[in-house]
Symmetry: C2
Subunit: 465 residues, 2 copies
């Protein structure tokens, strides 16, 4: 990965003094704190901000953003630092706004099946809080990310196939604009035809248009019945075909996840499990008792025709948690399979009719490559990941991962897919965004310039201004 | 309704000559054609464009938009003219682009459950075309609107409660920008985190940011089982409570529509039916045979507790068509109930916890009013309509309808609802948009100025520039 060219000047002492006066100990310029806030979970080169502001409410964000505008200093919002394309790297320095202390759940609407939270609330915290209400929030990217960060990166994950991504599940946002104005992007009504869809504009804007400080989300009733299962297949093609047929048959499967044999071997070791080392699907079914039984019967039939092994069922909450924890730990398991390696996690998403072909060609590529990698994915959406386990001190491995990544993205684009199904653009996929969107990137840039004319909000991400 | 102040100058003869040279007979300046293209189905004062261009492909739209930009002349896109807030009124004159001849279905993806159509294809035409594929497109605003127009106005309708609105069902758009550039807003992948969500920005932009020429939509498998029913209730509160409990219980009802007693009387007469004249719910259930039976059982139980009459079932396709035709004709039925009247159709949408209260207060209002009106709505979403049947020659009736509309919208906004759930803003609800969004309208305006600096795309709609 070649570091972008940076034109960086340190934050003005007068700005830091003003921020310190306002926030006291909640402004940190310690090298360790700054370093921690300039890196995410990816292979991308970290870039520390000049200071980190631990905010506690929207008003403080307003004041910080106004001061930064006055001193022409970049602002980088930070949730939990679990992004994967360098989203939080302070490429031009500036002030990182850490929202983790904005972690109050402001309102639960049990009748309306919605909730309003501060941006620093994490998805696990929310679901823990909801436990006694019979409701849950489904979007689950694996990491215990903040809901503000998940909105900012248009996160999705394992059960987007049934419940949608953050795009479908955010009802409204409170956003601090680059000039310090505060807007509410929408009311709580389930639908609206009132003007431009600002909610969807800010969902996925990766901090480049403003700082999200509050999020209103849809909730769902916990299904009467939930069943999960693991099932091995003779070939990856058989597993993928099972997915395609399941989706096309209209079964409202809640999760349908593919892990290749390398990934299964890694999670067996990491999570001390004894799954067969073969291309495997992880399923979850939600519904009424009768409805789940019906879904299971249909999918069982499809899988059997593809030569699947028997389903291994997890019916208790505990068994299911163990099953999905193993799936969620796939990334860490892959890294552990090559001690000392760093993970380069990448993702694409293609129309499901092209999924088998896209995965097959990608598998051929990685079989011929010199670096270890594992494949996993939210295949019901046509979305899958590669994790390259690279030695960060060997430039030839980085070059090889970059070459494989290029080939995979180019392949997905040629199949009318996208360069990222859920990780976002950050500074890692800016060139691919241009390849994907062409002239439309200039429309995005004109919106960016209109809303953030000083280019201070998370500069150097999504597109070059 | 007070007409907006217009600063209008006729289109330049040189522009019309250039357009005529390009389009021949497909450019019309006939008074009748222009008049027909300046009005929609609403009470709003029509405004004829100076010319109507009947386009046949995206390239022609590009040329027209470029010529209009060169001559600083407004452009108003036109689908079928079934909008309800003055969307197609050429407030500043200019050239209307009629897309009805762009009516080709370009691609059906039976494996991906998607379709790409030209913007002039209507929803009925599409579903007719799909008949033998086992797939259908669900969004159904009643009118046989064009899919480009439905995207532009973020249309929804009776089964949005199950399948979502155009916001959820548009995968990608081809758009001609105000300067003639053509963009594709997205690839066909089901999800993407690649940059700003331009698809959702253009969905609902009402022609103010560009001309939509092609639309890629999600399709769904026709359910194995479909059942529809009509059920009368002793009071409107009982009907609304049935809706609220149904939604809260998580039953995936496909349609759940409320009609008040005035509306039921009107449709009985108009469609020669014999439904009980009482607050009534129209239901439709989609799923597997067992799934539909289960849904019906739950809803039956809820309705019975609210004192409902027996359900009248429509199980054959023919019976269902008749049932839903009556629902769709509600607007025309209401108008026919007062011969010579014009309809002022308005809509709001509130969180479902406030629906009963919002409808009850609105019913009290109309009971005390001097003009006849009827209430109907897509209540599963919290969305409902009033139709005022007004004598357009009596200013006091227009004033009374305006007063009632103001009160209803103000009430909805106070309940965290929206000023329009599905009709859009046009030029009828611009002031309400400001009341709803406050500072956020300025963000919309900055986007408008960035993409359409000359303010030529459907000027005078959504917001004042």
């Amino acid at each position: 990965m070649i570091a972008p060219v940076l034109l960086r000047e340190p934050a003005k002492p007068a700005l830091l003094a003003a921020l310190h006066q306002r926030l006291g100990d909640r402004l940190s310029t310690s090298a360790a704190v700054c370093a921690q806030h300039g890196k995410d979970e990816s292979y991308h080169q970290p870039h520390a901000p000049d200071a980190v502001a631990f905010v506690q409410n929207t008003d403080e964000v307003v004041e910080i953003v106004r001061l930064c505008a006055q001193y022409d200093t970049p602002v980088v919002p930070f949730g939990t630092g679990t992004s994967l394309e360098g989203h939080v790297a302070a490429l031009k320095g500036g002030v990182c706004i850490d929202l983790s202390q904005m972690n109050r759940i402001l309102r639960v609407g049990t009748e309306d099946l919605d909730v309003t939270v501060e941006a620093g609330v994490t998805r696990k915290q929310l679901n823990e809080y909801l436990r006694d209400t019979g409701l849950f929030f489904p979007v689950d990217p694996g990491a215990d990310a903040s809901l503000g960060g998940m909105a900012a990166t248009r996160a999705s994950g394992t059960n987007a196939v049934r419940y949608g991504t953050m795009r479908e599940n955010v009802l409204a946002l409170t956003v601090v604009l680059p000039d310090g104005r505060v807007i509410q992007t929408s009311r709580r009504a389930r639908k609206s035809a009132a003007g431009y869809d600002l909610t969807r504009l800010f969902v996925g804007s990766e901090g480049t248009l403003g700082v999200i400080t509050e999020v209103t989300l849809k909730l769902y009733g916990i299904p009467e019945a939930i069943s999960a299962a693991v099932c091995a297949f003779p070939t990856i093609a058989a597993a993928v075909d099972t997915v395609i047929l399941t989706i096309q048959s209209g079964v409202p499967v809640a999760r349908i996840e593919l892990l290749d044999e390398a990934q299964m071997e890694a999670i067996n070791k990491y999570s001390k499990l004894d799954h067969k080392v073969a291309p495997t699907l992880f399923f979850e079914f939600h519904g009424t008792t009768a409805g789940v039984a019906e879904q299971v019967e249909i999918v069982n039939g499809i899988a059997a025709e593809q030569g699947a092994d028997d389903f291994r069922w997890a019916t208790t909450q505990e068994e299911r948690s163990k099953l999905w924890q193993a799936r969620h730990d796939a990334y860490y398991a892959a890294l552990a399979s090559r001690p000392g390696s760093k993970g380069w996690a990448t993702d694409v998403c293609v129309p499901i009719s092209r999924l088998a072909e896209c995965i097959a060609e990608t598998k051929t590529d990685i079989a011929q490559s010199s670096i270890p990698s594992a494949l996993a994915g939210h295949v019901g959406d046509g979305n899958f990941h590669l994790i390259f386990m690279i030695d960060p001190n060997r430039p030839e491995e980085i070059a090889e991962a970059s070459r494989l990544n290029d080939r995979m993205v180019t392949r997905a684009l040629a199949m009318d897919g996208t360069c990222t199904g859920e990780h976002g653009v950050g500074y890692g996929k800016m060139d691919f965004l241009c390849a994907e969107h062409g002239e439309a990137v200039e429309v995005m840039a004109s919106i960016k310039r209109a809303i953030d004319p000083q280019n201070l909000m998370n500069p150097g991400k999504i597109m070059r201004i």
